[in-house]
Subunit: 291 residues, 2 copies
Amino acid sequence: MKMNDYIELVNKKLDEYMQIEYPEDIFKSMKYSVTLPGKRLRPVMCLESCRVFGGNYEEAIPTACAIEMLHAQTLIHDDLPCMDNDDFRRGKLSNHKVFGEANAVLAGDALLTFAPQTILKYSKLPSDILVKIFAEYFQAAGAYGVIAGQVVDIESENGKVSGDKTKILEYIHTHKTADLFKLSLRTGAIIAGATEEQISIITEFGQKLGVAFQIADDILDEISTFEEMGKTLGKDKASGKLTYVTLYGLEDAKHKLTCLLTDCCDIINKLNVESEVFKDIISGIEKRVSQ
Amino acid sequence: MKMNDYIELVNKKLDEYMQIEYPEDIFKSMKYSVTLPGKRLRPVMCLESCRVFGGNYEEAIPTACAIEMLHAQTLIHDDLPCMDNDDFRRGKLSNHKVFGEANAVLAGDALLTFAPQTILKYSKLPSDILVKIFAEYFQAAGAYGVIAGQVVDIESENGKVSGDKTKILEYIHTHKTADLFKLSLRTGAIIAGATEEQISIITEFGQKLGVAFQIADDILDEISTFEEMGKTLGKDKASGKLTYVTLYGLEDAKHKLTCLLTDCCDIINKLNVESEVFKDIISGIEKRVSQ
């Protein structure tokens, strides 16, 4: 499978899994954010991880789509007025600008359980594998995962965090971004029946790729435009937010990004698997900031 | 076990399960709302349901506590300014009044996965039972459960719902309240290894008890005081909210409540189980409105 085949498949399945039921407003609101145009990086990583470890990627489709739903959940709540207060996301109005704040809060809540429910409904995986996948999902979605990252991110913005800024930034990037990358790769590997060692290596790949992705995002916030990114930019600098660019400057950020992406290539080589898709993802991140 | 023994046990376990980890603000915020003084009706029902169907209630403790966490999650988000905008809950300040709105949104989000994570961490149940419990949890917590109820409740308040008001009200009460009662009773029964028929009967009990509980709440909103209830009252009437009392008047509401509680007693008798605790819960609801 090529990158675009996976993306097309994920988009088709997301549309199929997310029927508009009663009460319509909540299902429409959930579907609106999940199906906004996007690169579908996380589900693609899940499917490809399953494939490279010898699994049938079709068995990972519900899990891959569930992770995209979880990702959309985090974006809906991050955009709320009481959080990052963003009116735009992926070039379209944020969920709360279309459906109202109450609905946006509830749509996010609903996605958090709709996602694993989708895995239950459409996966034909045995119970012990399902339990392993849920364990990964709960860990990444909650107070030990993306939420930990978001909390420390907000606190750093409010000047409420003291200590080593490098470590704090690494913590934020790890949890806000890398945790969902790792979730995608690990669940794909688990479905494929990968060994502990393989899972450990692909986790390292997800960690480095996630941090690289976030550094690229920090760089783009500095150098890109609204039209290119589809969301409000330049906010990091304006708000004094802790990012790789505000901490080390643009050049060091670019250097760090290159190092991480090189490490990512090395890990894929070490795994001794053929994956055009993983290479495409790595070079895609590189290209985003070098335009 | 008596009612108070269960409550004491649940409070002890909630305190034990909810350690304050890093980042502290989020764990403190989660624990604050979960451990606010309460009747612990839902966890008690879960434990008692397990016991009456021949199970060991101790095996149901993590699940019982997880449902209390889920209940707290719904209260935190319901109290938000963009929802019911309540400053008080259980006689104390609402979560967002203490920890801020962003943290309150995130604490609710975190509880939604922390709860099943608690089941995973502390239950020694086999995978197939765990999967069944998670299926029940996702169904009750999400867009087919409490959230459906909350959405239609908000829409009814905004005059956005048309159709048979009796049916709409039944829908709201069923999903906002009865769904978590049923979740508690059903998961307790599942852990005990109850038969399909037993689970079906206890579900009917939960449905009627849940609606009865909500009607009692509607009555109390009309006749009680802040001191007695620990939250802002009289808001239903002021906001033109659809409740049993605003729809049928106080006397009809009281009559309906009596009928439902009689049905609940009959169901317990039909099950042919000895349960002081279920009887205490039924008479407790009766007493709340007859003072």
